[in-house]
Amino acid sequence: MRYIIAGITAASFMIISCEDFSASYQRVDAGAFRLLNIQYYPAEAAPGDIVTLTAVFAGKEIDLEKLIDWRVSYNMLVDHYGTLTAVDDKPLEYHEIQTSFFSGNTQAVNVRFKIPEDCVRRSGSIPNNWADLVPSYVKSSIPQELLSMTKDEMVDLIEAYDRYLKGPHDNFTLDRPMSMIKAASNEWQKPQYSEELHSCLNTILQFFTVPIRISANVKGEHTIQSTYSVRYNGKFYSLDINYNNNPDIGFVRVYKVKGKNQLGFDESDPFVDFFGYWPAIIEVEDGYTYIAEAIVYANSIDYSVTLGGVTVEEEYRVYWQFQLDEDEIKGIPYSKYMDITSVPGQLGAGPFAWIIPPADKRITKFTLWVSVTDHVTNERLRPQGSALAEFRGYFTYK
């Protein structure tokens, strides 16, 4: 651990000569096949649910239906070090696949498929003694009775609880903690002990979350992998259990801040908003810094109760990409192109970015894509929600 910190610090201060590359992640070139985002709807799914995957691409156009080989692994292992092992890997059986429309500058494809009913039960990522997955500081919040149950028994319990809540009430075949639910089953009231089960349900369901992997082998290009999580949370939505939705990107605001290489802006600084497809204009002037901020609608913000019992607001990671007009950039070296970089000190995919205007005034048009993924620390294998928004703009030069 100490060497990780020291290494990060040392790397920060190394004096090493470095030059820019011609190709960059942020810039989508016409000849490159680029993935902008993969979004799942719903953002999280339970066994048996139908999921629609939407993949959006930019750059080089290809035949999305014919050239993409979709594969899936429903049995994924992931260890503490994040090592992913796909135990099975097979063609994705989908209900439907069709190209879709996202914007005029992009290609999109929707893939609709069903999560197997036994996805969680058959996943090798949950051992038979499921309590082995539970850290000691979490165990105290789970009744011992449940911890001593096997994986299958727990899955049965969860699925039975789901059925119970949906009604009508079956004859339960499980004896033990089902008494928690059964106690009130005959009275058509909420189970006497459901409070106890409910209080730990959020925690328990995290250990019955399994990763699956969708991969897209794009012929002639490269492979794209996406990890999705399947859990039962959606079935208990009414019980105020953690549930993740895809974020909703509202708009992008670009501040014009006086001074070069400014790290922040003031609310009084002039700005321009990028909404939807209406292009916005950035006035380029020497001696100014252009800071972009991605705004996510507040009503799309989800809250989660972590394994530590803390209720937290989900965090967002923002990724910026752009494309320039092919005709405008002809003959202009890439070093004079526009660029977008993360604001220094932000450490990674934060909501702010520097928009570095082109050094050549012939470049005016640009398309901007913002993709956002959500994240909560200490919510095990939380399904990731994502969103993509496209904006257009122009540079004018003073």
Binding site: Y25, L77, V78, H80, G82, T306, L307, N378
Partner: protein, 942 residues
């Protein structure tokens, strides 16, 4: 003074003599003492210096003719006055008198025949008149006679030995170091030969001659000389009061000349500072055949290593310049010995572990280099003295604090400042103290908080400080003891305004990075010699270490440990052919830790370990045996128990994984058997070989056996090493060492890979113990020992390092593989106290794994490479020239030295690759090289 009777040669005198004399003349007072008259006769010189006729002949003649039966004899001698002024002026000589001696023996008359000086004549006359003679006899009756008598005024008879008193003393110290200079010749030349102001009771030359006989000084070629004692002290006795020229002469020092005025009554005291002809740190150069016992040991003196360019004078890092050690990563402190990872080797100071060898930032070793005596580097094949390592051992030996005088230095470099002091407390006790503080953090703090934007700032600097306190006690000639306290603190803080990374469940400070580490180690040692055959070497250290850190809100840890290490070795010399050594090597570490970090499942893991015990509990014995004079064999056995492990250890020493017999039936430890031998083929040529089994706890220590992050039942890693070599002592200062080696390791932990998936396991293992490594190679070292003007070496290693690739079911190159490694290194002592050092390195490029494709991860918006055959390609080779210039300015009582170290001088011509950066989709790459780096420092040594 004495008188001499002389027989006159004139006719009249003869006549008188014939009449009056019949006895032989009295020649000197010595004659009166009864010597034979004939023997006592002296040849008499007349005024012209010609030999006069022997009186005896005349007397016989006279006797024959005159019948003088008896000559007068002096009965009472009276000394004449010798006036002081004549003595001072050095006037001496003979007055020739003619005496008339009466029948009664009295002197009736005296006349001067040959004058010396009127005053002296008078003094002589006055004295002679008082002489009493026995009367002459002739014919049986007393008769008066006339005779000549020489009265000699002799300075030697009257000059007394001057009073002895020291009136000129002093001390001679070496310029700069203030070290006393012993056995230096101190010569006085008297500039004023008359010494008119001296007021001497005798002539100057006589005086000097007299004092030249005093003890402790002597006269040589007109100069009064003496030598200094071991304390640099000299003294002169009874010098005349005059001006002298003092010359200090010694072959090791420049000639020193100074004038002094010696006073009449006061003592002159002086202190002189003489300049050495050469100010090399390594004063004592000992050559010759030191008895070597180990096969692979390479020893370096600290004075040598501080001159090597590119290492910042760091004695610990110097092992990187030795054959068998791979080039470290940039700013790295890893020590890859014979292709094995850094954690396969161990570092010791005086036989006991140090918890941390380097500061975390700055790559400076914690133990001050100036407190070290030697560094023993064992790239392999080491004896049973060491355990818990499967690759190499580096043992640093601390030196005793100096006892001659208080001395030390203050040092300032680009990274840190330090102070070092040592000296005697009393006859038996001496001390050493050092302290160092880094101030890079202060500079960065200044930059970020005042010069750059205030949104990024640094917390409290410094990055580190360290200290060493030591006391040496010479109990008696057979026992020596020391106690030392070593401590260090590393700290770092970085905050970024407005940043919020990670989770508050991990740490509240989600906008900052901080880290601190502190330890204190107390070490005690006792060396004993018992009745000439038994020796005991005891070392004990106790360490308390705390550390903690937080990486924004992403990870957090705190830990503390108590480490104790006991090493005791008893040696018994049974005969000149057999010595038996037995020892205990017990290292135990009690560890508490809290680690909060999200796992790969996005789950915050809070791992707490309480009182977890780690260590190596070892016992060993070996025999140094010389069956014949030219052959030395050292077989030894050792057992290492690892308290943190829980597995079935070997019963017999394992040189490979024995399939036939079930060797895994023992406790959680490993026995070892090692033997090394040296055979002197002929004078200057030694063949050597070593075979041994080794073991260590699986690495990285703690992590791979952790209940959450590892597999608790992993076994110890084992190794077998085979070494064959040859030493050729070409001359006293030139030697060549060649070694070939083959090392195997097995039960090496490796992390889980997808190929390891076992459907029968509910939970897949995080680590497996089926890793294997093998390394082999050839090492050559041509070494020029340190002389006054030069030291250096050429080292070359040809090697291969491989690891077992389970997926491919074969050995593949390991990332530590480095086929060629050539180093040319030298340091020259030039004129004017300049030292120039150079180090040229050529190293094969690091192995790389080609990228054959990419996979785009939609979740992290990143692209990761698909790798081809592991380590099947290589970066361009590494070529670097480093230079170092040291300059000393010698002042009277201190020395100012400064150095400039320039690394990577060849950068304009060739840029050695250090890293490869790829663009986002691995379609482009850039090779990054280190730019030239300059560092400099200043030291004031007193």
């Amino acid at each position: 003074m004495h008188g001499k009777v002389k027989a006159v040669s004139t006719a009249a005198s003869l006549f008188l003599a014939a009449i009056l004399f019949s006895a032989k003349p009295v020649l000197s007072s010595e004659i009166n003492s009864g010597e034979d008259d004939e023997e006592a006769i002296e040849l008499v010189l007349d005024e012209d210096g010609e030999e006069a006729v022997e009186l005896a002949e005349e007397i016989e003649f006279i006797d024959d003719e005159s019948g003088l039966e008896k000559m007068p004899e002096i009965l009472e001698f009276v000394e004449a006055d010798y006036p002081e002024e004549f003595i001072k002026d050095g006037v001496e000589g003979t007055v020739l008198l003619e005496l008339l001696i009466s029948e009664t023996g009295g002197v009736d008359s005296v006349s001067v025949v040959h004058s010396l000086h009127p005053l002296l004549d008078t003094c002589a006359i006055e004295a002679v008149k008082k002489f009493k003679f026995s009367p002459a006899q002739a014919g049986g009756e007393n008769v008066a006679v006339m005779l000549q008598y020489e009265y000699r005024f002799s300075l030697r008879d009257v000059i007394s030995v001057p009073e002895s008193y020291v009136n000129f003393s002093g001390r001679i110290l070496e310029r700069g170091t203030r070290r006393p200079v012993g056995d230096m010749l101190v010569a006085l030349k008297f500039l004023d030969t008359l010494c008119s102001g001296a007021d001497l009771p005798m002539p100057f030359s006589f005086y000097i001659e007299q004092i030249g006989k005093f003890e402790g000084q002597r006269l040589e070629d007109g100069l009064l000389v003496t030598e200094t004692d071991s304390d640099g002290t000299f003294k002169f006795t009874s010098l005349p009061a005059c001006k002298v020229q003092v010359s200090l002469v010694s072959p090791d020092y420049d000639l020193f000349i100074s004038d002094e005025q010696i006073g009449k009554l006061e003592e002159v005291r002086a202190t002189y500072y003489v300049k050495r002809t050469d100010y090399s740190d390594y004063e004592l150069v000992v050559y010759g055949k030191a008895e070597e016992k180990e096969v692979s040991r390479r020893q370096l003196s600290v004075a040598e290593v501080k001159r090597i360019p590119g290492l910042g004078g760091d004695a610990v890092k110097v092992v990187q310049a030795m054959p068998g050690v791979a080039r470290p990563s940039v700013m790295g402190t890893d020590v890859v010995v014979r292709g094995a990872p850094s954690w396969d080797s161990r570092f010791f100071v005086d036989g006991v572990s140090v918890p941390l060898l380097y500061h975390l930032v700055g790559s400076t070793s914690i133990y001050p280099s100036d407190a070290l005596e030697t560094i023993d580097f064992y790239p392999g094949g080491f004896s049973t003295r060491y355990g818990g390592a499967v690759a190499g051992v580096i043992e640093m030996k601390s030196r005793r604090s100096k006892t001659d005088r208080l001395q030390g230095y203050v040092d300032l470099s680009m990274l840190d400042g330090s102070i070092f002091v040592e000296g005697p407390i009393n006859e038996k006790v001496s001390f050493m103290a050092s302290g160092r503080r880094n101030f890079t953090g202060d500079l960065l703090n200044l930059y970020f908080n005042h010069l750059a934007s205030g949104d990024i700032g640094f917390a409290v600097a410094p990055f580190y400080w360290d200290y060493l306190l030591r006391t040496d006690i010479a109990i008696d000639k057979n026992h020596h003891m020391f106690v030392s306290l070593l401590g260090s603190r590393d700290s770092l803080g970085l905050f970024i305004n407005g940043l919020d990374v990670g989770s508050s469940e991990i740490g509240e400070a989600t906008n900052s990075l901080n880290m601190k580490l502190m330890f204190h180690t107390l070490t005690a040692g006792l060396d004993s010699r018992i009745n000439g055959r038994w020796n005991n070497y005891l070392r004990f250290s106790g360490t308390y270490l705390t550390e903690g850190g937080a990486l924004f809100g992403v990870a957090k840890y705190e830990s503390s440990l108590y480490l104790s290490h006991l090493r005791n070795q008893v040696s018994f010399t049974a005969s000149d052919k057999v010595t038996v050594n037995a020892g205990a090597d017990i290292e135990l570490m009690n560890h508490d830790m809290i680690l909060i970090i999200p796992s790969g499942q996005n789950l915050i893991m809070r791992d707490t370990t309480d009182n977890e015990l780690f260590g190596v509990v070892g016992g060993y014995a070996n025999v140094e045996w010389k069956p014949i004079d030219k052959l030395q064999l050292i077989p030894g056995i050792r057992y290492d128990y690892y308290p943190e492990l829980d597995y079935k250890g070997s019963v017999v020493p394992a040189f490979w994984d024995y399939g036939i017999i079930n060797n895994r039936r023992g406790a959680s430890g490993e026995p070892s058997f090692r033997i090394n031998g040296r055979y002197e083929i002929m004078d200057g040529h030694v063949a050597k070989a070593a075979v041994g089994s080794y073991s260590q706890t699986p690495e990285p220590i703690g992590q791979v056996i952790h209940p959450t992050w590892g597999e608790p039942d992993l076994p110890a890693t084992k190794a077998a090493q085979y070494v064959i070599g040859h030493e050729w002592r070409i001359s006293d200062i030139l030697s060549l060492d060649a070694q070939t080696y083959f090392n195997r390791q097995w039960d090496v932990p490796r992390s889980f890979d997808t190929i390891d998936y076992d459907p029968n396991l509910e939970i897949q293992k995080l680590y497996l113990s089926d890793g294997k490594r093998r390394t082999y190679g050839l090492e050559l070292m041509l070494r020029h020992m340190r002389t006054e003007k030069f030291f250096g070496w050429i080292s070359y290693t040809l090697s291969r390092s491989e690891r077992w690739d389970k997926a491919r079911n074969r050995f593949v190159l390991a990332r530590e593989d480095e086929p060629h490694h050539l180093q040319l290194l030298g340091s020259w002592s030039l004129k004017n106290d300049l030292d120039l050092g150079g180090r040229l390195r050529f190293v094969s490029g690091r192995p790389t794994t080609p990228i054959v494709g990419i996979v785009e991860d939609a979740n992290s918006k990143s692209i990761r490479p698909i790798y081809g055959k592991p380590n099947s390609t290589r970066m361009d080779p590494f070529l670097q020239l480093d230079l170092r210039l040291d300059k000393k300015v010698i002042y009277e009582k201190w020395i100012l030295s400064y150095y400039c170290d320039l690394q990577n001088v060849l950068w304009p011509i060739y840029r050695s690759p250090e890293f490869v950066f790829h663009n986002y989709n691995y379609t482009e790459k850039q090779t990054i090289s280190m730019i030239p780096m300059m560092s400099f420092g200043v030291r004031a040594q007193f």
